[in-house]
């Protein structure tokens, strides 16, 4: 039972991070119809910017997180302007290939600046908490709390504010959104910025529990794509459910079946779901 609860908390923390990264990806897909393969690169860059702010500027953990999130958000918005906006009418494989190019560039650039070795980010609060025999590190608690806060805030933004509503409107119907006077250019840029922000925040949150390396984005990239396909591309609730499905499958599969194949389980699940329901678990009108 203790082991089970232990794994449950681990799965929740992991799922929270997956959800943050996947939400940005699914928003961008919903609005721009671009599967942004560079998203994992943004995530990785977020971790490195946090590291750089912490060690280079000597500021605290929270300011570093915010700085990294803003930096990556700006870069993502720039990416939309320079690459994806001009490619909006190109054949659908073009933006995908361009995004792969950006991913490669980000990885190589980070490796050039910070070197290929692993970096470690110290946890803001060290130590562990014990709740009824279940041991959890402070960092995992922070991850769970922060991801809940961010998801709730994002939901409020999308549902209750005018700017958020324009994002929803555009992902529902591009032409319709333009007809009612929504500036679709601005919404596209904004969505990219939000996706960068979420990815960087997720990276800054999870970074203290793992080692930061230039290739950390690749695995995350594949996983979040699996998640948003599972949940249905462009669906916000789908991304959240998909994120926790994957984290639970991985954590419990890893604990009870085989740690070696923990990474395979997620993709096997993806293939299985798509074979049965090609449109994902949460169908969306297209």
């Amino acid at each position: 039972m203790i082991t089970f609860l232990q794994q449950l908390l681990n799965a929740l923390a992991l799922g929270g991070v997956y959800a943050l990264v996947a939400l940005g990806l699914t928003l961008v897909y919903g609005v721009m119809r671009v599967p942004n393969f560079a998203h994992g690169g943004l995530y990785m860059l977020g971790a490195y910017l946090t590291y750089a702010s912490l060690t280079g500027l000597g500021i605290g953990y929270v300011p570093s997180l915010i700085l990294a999130a803003i930096g990556v958000a700006l870069l993502a918005a720039l990416m939309e302007r320079v690459i994806f906006y001009p490619l909006r009418n190109a054949p659908h494989v073009s933006p995908m290939i361009a995004a792969i190019g950006v991913l490669f560039f980000l990885e190589a650039a980070v490796q050039l600046i910070w070197g290929p070795d692993f970096k470690q980010i110290p946890a803001p609060i060290n130590g562990i908490v014990e709740i009824g025999g279940v041991i959890i590190t402070w960092q995992r608690l922070i991850i769970i709390a922060a991801s809940v806060v961010v998801v709730v805030a994002l939901n409020y933004f999308l549902k209750r504010t005018l700017t958020g509503a324009t994002i929803e409107a555009m992902s529902q119907n591009r032409e319709g959104a333009r007809l009612v006077g929504i500036n679709t250019n601005r919404v596209g840029m904004l969505t990219f910025a939000i996706s960068g922000l979420l990815a960087a925040a997720a990276a800054a949150l999870i970074a203290p529990t793992l080692l930061v390396s230039p290739s950390m984005g690749e695995v995350m990239n594949l996983k979040v794509f699996a998640i948003i396909i599972l949940g249905g591309m462009g669906s916000v609730p789908g991304a959240i459910v998909g994120a926790f499905l994957l984290s639970f499958a991985e954590t419990f599969g890893g604990a009870y079946i085989s740690l070696d194949f923990a990474d395979v389980i997620g993709f096997a699940m993806l293939v299985l779901v798509l074979a049965i329901r090609p449109q994902g678990l949460f169908k969306r009108g297209t």
Partner: protein, 340 residues
Amino acid sequence: MKGRLQGGIWGWVAVFVLAALVPLFGPSGYVLDIGVNIMIYAILAYGLNVLLGYTGQLPLAHAGFFGIGAYTVGILTLKAGWSFWLAWPVAVAITALAGLLLGLVAFRTKGDTFAIFTLGVGVIIMLVINKWDALTGGNDGLNGIMPPAGLEALSKSVGLKLSGGFYYLALISLALTIIAVARARGSVFGLSLIAIRGGDDLARSAGIDVYSHKLRAMMLSTAIAGFAGGLYATYLGFLGSAATGPIQTFTLLLYLLVGGLGTLAGPLLGPALMYTLAQNLKGLQDYQYIVFGPLLVLLIMFAPQGLVGLWSRFTARRTPPPATPPTTPPHQKEVTRAGS
């Protein structure tokens, strides 16, 4: 059908005759090695081009099928003691079958989802190869795959080293691949694929069975990948799982884009240029994507047809329009991608 071969059939004959003359001048082993590698990558790129360039689908598991072909040859020759000449066709058949199986599921999805789905499959193939120690040797890989039986003796009998023999084997394989792809492209099947590239619904409205055509394109594409994989296994003599992953697919994508998507010369031109370049930038090995990443972006934005496309645009501009309107345009180049 000859008209489909860009630059004319004689251009291709000239290229191959020149390439065939190279080993006769006694070049260093290094030059021959680069030649063989370029040809293996070119064969692989021709396979990718069938799906991406002609059919307009982005399959990101291509290197996985390359790996299946390579490991089939490696395992059959090393562990079952088969002859390479028997294992090679079997590897091609297995990859075609695996492509069919993937296609049956994957083509239920469309466009972006298809690309991401195949990316997932590509990762699974790599992970399985990497973890299945008993069959594939896992992280250690497979060592000591023998060169094809008789190749060395044959090379000696005409006064060449084994590397020369490999060079000619790769050259013949490349020629077979190009002929197969060109014939497929010129046939009704190839035209149907181009129609599918323009849009599934459009093709369906013209009476094309989209699903079965995509499946056949997938099988052709993966069979070619397996063909290249078999050659790679016997040439290198060593197999590791790294060569079967998404990074390899992405690299191949770059090669293909540089050469020219959907063209017949592109899949040869791209690897020839980029592989040579990468070999000469060895010092920059880890950082080559600082240059190649933006290059990929710029290519897809401004020259999606790659070098071949730029060349056709250049020649099309220089050729004055004929005085009398001909029945067919003088340069029926494959640059009519727009509108999809």
